[in-house]
């Protein structure tokens, strides 16, 4: 693919501590290695303490801003159902969504100050997104023997949505660059899990 043809806007979202930043770094590394221009904006700081977090990624030329506007994302990679619903207005018509089914309960819901029904969120996504991939995070964790690779499992699913603008080999290389040797095999399996 000629690099100039590629123009992708991607959002990663979830809850602070879920590994969205590493996933965004992996995509960026893969893009850099292919000489695709890449720009990102991340949530860093207080929100990382269990708050809502998002990364905006722009691959390719043709845009200037690191943040995108509503209706501009080709792909949303959601680490958490409610957070994915929160970002949905950014999705382009016909864009793809990859979402983990596993909710992260906010403390406010635990102490009874708010309610949160994740199943409702998934239903909402099903009703409003045509190209939706739901990743069963619990089953992935059981198969892989680790819950820590959720970010790479989601990247694998994103790859297969066709909206990432990268292929599996690109991401494997990026993982090799960014992830410690001993976790390499596990992460490769995680990347392939949704196949």
């Amino acid at each position: 693919m000629c690099k100039n043809d590629l123009n992708k806007s991607i959002i990663l979202c979830g809850v602070g501590g879920q590994g969205t930043i590493l996933a965004s770094r992996l995509i960026a590394t893969a893009a850099m290695d292919k000489d695709i221009p890449i720009r990102t904006a991340e949530t860093i700081g207080m929100a990382q303490r269990g708050g809502s977090v998002f990364s905006h990624l722009r691959l390719g030329e043709g845009t200037n801003s690191p943040l995108m506007g509503k209706g501009e994302a080709d792909l949303i990679i959601g680490f958490e159902p409610g957070e994915t619903v929160r970002q949905l207005p950014f999705l382009k018509k016909g864009g793809a969504v990859v979402v983990s089914s596993r909710p992260v309960m906010p403390v406010s819901a635990m102490i009874g100050k708010a309610s949160y029904d994740a199943a409702q969120m998934i239903e909402y996504l099903k009703a409003n997104v045509t190209r939706l991939t739901i990743v069963d995070a619990d089953r992935a964790a059981a198969d892989l023997g680790s819950a820590k690779t959720l970010n790479v499992v989601l990247l694998g699913a994103a790859l297969r949505s066709g909206e990432l603008g990268l292929d599996e080999a690109d991401l494997e290389n990026a993982i090799r660059e960014k992830v410690p040797e001993k976790f390499l095999e596990l992460n490769k399996k995680a990347l392939a899990w949704s196949r």
Binding site: M32, I44, G50, P66, L67, M68, K70, L88, S108
Partner: protein, 635 residues
């Protein structure tokens, strides 16, 4: 040259290294922290780097270096500049011999700050020139230019970036270390007529500063980053004067808003002025920009700096151009701008819809209630245990809990509810005194982290002791500056250069002030902590408790706790009282369950469960009196 994928702050740091910076000082604070950290990491070996104890100290250290002819950089967030403003205001009158860049990270939103102050306005107030980058890649180049300007005009300059530049990432072409500029310097040369600030010198230099800044208006008018972009929205660009005449409206913008503007134009025909040096304002360029225009919309964040400057230019030159922006209600006065805000403002201003991408139907159905996720103290955070101990000990008494800046500000959230006030670094100690003098029957507590204690807690404590206050100082010592990413400080026994140094003991500092009751306790020992708080708070005068237990981010968990479902009576106490994010409801929706991927085994919940249903944890035994660490910071 080589290419790297860099965070804005990393790009700024590498740019400073490329400019031959000799000394870097600073105090951590989001979104500025990574600049100094990157300098320390990528130090070619000849740069002196320090985390200063606060921004004022850092500013003075940098000024001293610049007096010798060295190039110095000092880094801070915008509220840190308030702390450093005393030396800076005077330094502008004295000037520097080498080069000095004051890096200030502004935080529109604010995303993690107390104020939405604008360093561009501070530039005008202090008469210090300001550089305002628009992207990560540009920031790399621009900080090198800022050093050039500073060295040439012998003045400190502001390099102020905002969160989207500081924390954005981009692939940037950077120099290899062999290509770095080498700044060799002469050393300090004694000259009282230059370095000693007396009224006579001040009035003389004041005149010179005003003259120089007037000149800089012209110099900056031809600085290429201040630029007019003729009709960037249209595909075929008409050339030169003709294009300028065709267009009767313009947008003046800055920083990341310039990028938002370019991306939002989508075919709409306007002339754009990008202001890279808001002070001194490039007046000539602005005049050229406004030539033939009827109206200008100013798109900026924080203060209406460009809007005021253009309004002034119109008044000065008698132009009848209508200037719009924040002051006319066209741009929000507070908060961070977004692509939507900019796009909407441009639509209203031009009366034209841009070519839109095909969007999701605007009317997505109303989603189900979304979870609110305020940031919370981490699972196993020792601050939770400290707050809970004080809360239990003071139950039923009239109290005020004055908080401070750091992770522990999060103690305000339910269910702890242990932060009644929070103002700025170190302020809790003074506020507790003021309340106490007016309400002697209130038990007044001030909570302060260890880094905050060193940064600005000591003077307040001396004030309390000298002026006979009655209050309890609680130092939350967690062995790291958690909120900004684990920086060392005087209590940790190491420097950012990795040197092992003598630790400054908080206990000894407090005793040296004159406090006789200074007790150190492990907050994860709940019973002992409650007893200690009760005993100490009952003493007269100023007394202190030091809760010492390391941040979970700098220790490895020794065990994980679990709930024995057979024993749990579903009383909900652990969930209701602690708010630890690791404790969740079991699938039955009644009994407690622990998420082992989050639990650190701190044992706090084990100690409060009435039926001992929780076990398996193993707390960190940082026995009282060992390993003092860091804790507070400008978040």
């Amino acid at each position: 040259m080589h290419k790297e994928f860099l965070m804005g702050n990393e790009a700024i740091a590498l740019g400073a290294l490329a400019a031959g910076v000799n000394l870097v000082a600073g105090y951590p604070g989001t979104p500025s922290t990574e600049v100094l950290e990157t300098i320390a990491k990528r130090n070619p070996g000849n740069v002196y780097v320090e985390w200063s104890i606060n921004e004022k100290a850092g500013m003075e250290v940098a000024a001293g270096a610049a007096y010798t002819g060295a190039r110095a950089l000092v880094t801070m967030k915008q509220v840190g500049l308030n702390v450093a403003s005393d030396p800076l205001m005077s330094l502008e009158y004295i000037g520097v011999k080498g080069g000095m860049v004051v890096l200030v990270a502004d935080d529109p939103g604010p995303i993690s700050s107390q104020t939405e102050q604008d360093t561009r306005t501070f530039g005008m107030f202090s008469k210090v020139p300001v550089f305002d980058p628009a992207s990560v890649a540009e920031a790399y180049e621009m900080i090198q230019e800022a050093f050039e300007f500073s060295s040439k005009y012998k003045t400190p300059v502001f390099f102020r970036a905002t969160t989207r530049v500081d924390h954005g990432y981009e692939a940037v072409e950077v120099k290899d270390p062999e290509e770095y500029y080498v700044n060799s310097y002469e050393g300090f040369v004694k000259d009282p007529s230059r370095w000693v600030i007396f009224p006579r010198l001040s009035v003389k230099n004041h005149a010179l500063i005003e003259k120089r800044n007037a000149e800089l208006k012209d110099v900056f008018s031809s600085y290429p980053r201040n630029q007019i972009v003729a009709e960037p929205g249209t595909a075929a660009k008409p050339e030169g004067a003709q294009a300028q005449r065709a267009c009767r409206i313009g947008i003046a913008t800055q920083g990341v808003n310039f990028m938002y503007t370019l991306d939002s134009l989508r075919g709409r025909n306007v002339r754009v002025l990008r202001v890279a040096t808001p002070f001194p304002f490039p007046e000539k360029l602005a005049l050229e920009f406004m030539e033939g225009l009827d109206e200008v919309l100013c798109i900026e964040e924080l203060d209406p700096v460009i809007e005021r400057a253009l309004t002034y230019v119109c008044g000065k030159y008698g132009l009848s151009v209508k200037i719009r922006g924040k002051l006319t209600g066209d741009i929000p006065l507070s908060g961070e701008n977004s692509m939507e805000i900019v796009d909407k403002a441009i639509t209203a201003f031009t009366g034209e819809q841009g070519e839109r991408p095909e969007q999701m139907p605007d009317a997505l159905p109303q989603p189900p209630a979304l979870p609110v996720r305020p940031p919370v103290l981490c699972a196993g955070c020792p601050h939770r245990a400290s707050f809970y101990a004080v809360k239990c000990a003071m139950k039923g008494l009239k109290t005020i809990y004055c908080g401070d800046i750091g992770c522990y500000t999060l103690g305000n959230a339910a269910p702890l509810d242990m932060c009644d006030t929070c103002l700025c670094m170190g302020a809790g100690i003074g506020i507790a005194q003021g309340v106490m003098h007016m309400e002697p029957d209130t038990k007044c507590f001030a909570f302060v982290g260890d880094s905050t204690f060193f940064a600005s807690g000591i003077t307040g404590t001396v004030n309390a002791f000298y002026n006979q206050a009655d209050m309890t100082l609680v130092v939350l010592d967690n062995s790291t500056t958690a909120m900004t990413g684990h920086q060392p400080h005087p209590g940790t026994g190491r420097t950012v250069m990795g040197q092992a140094v003598e630790k400054v003991s908080i206990e000894r500092v407090l005793r040296a002030i004159g406090l006789t009751v200074v007790e150190t306790v492990d907050p994860l020992d709940h019973k002992l902590s409650v007893e200690t708080v009760k005993r100490v708070a009952a003493e007269p005068g100023v007394k202190a408790i030091i809760f010492r237990s390391p941040c979970i981010a700098v220790t490895k968990p020794k065990g994980r706790s679990g709930v024995d479902a057979a024993k749990c009576i579903a009383c909900g106490k652990c969930i209701r009282e602690l708010g630890c994010p690791a404790i969740i409801l079991d699938s039955d929706g009644k009994k407690a369950k622990i998420d082992t991927s989050l639990c650190t085994g701190c044992t706090l919940c084990e100690q409060i469960c009435p039926v001992k249903a929780i076990s398996g944890g193993a707390k960190n035994d940082t026995a009282a009196g060992t390993d003092p660490g860091k804790g507070g910071c400008h978040v």
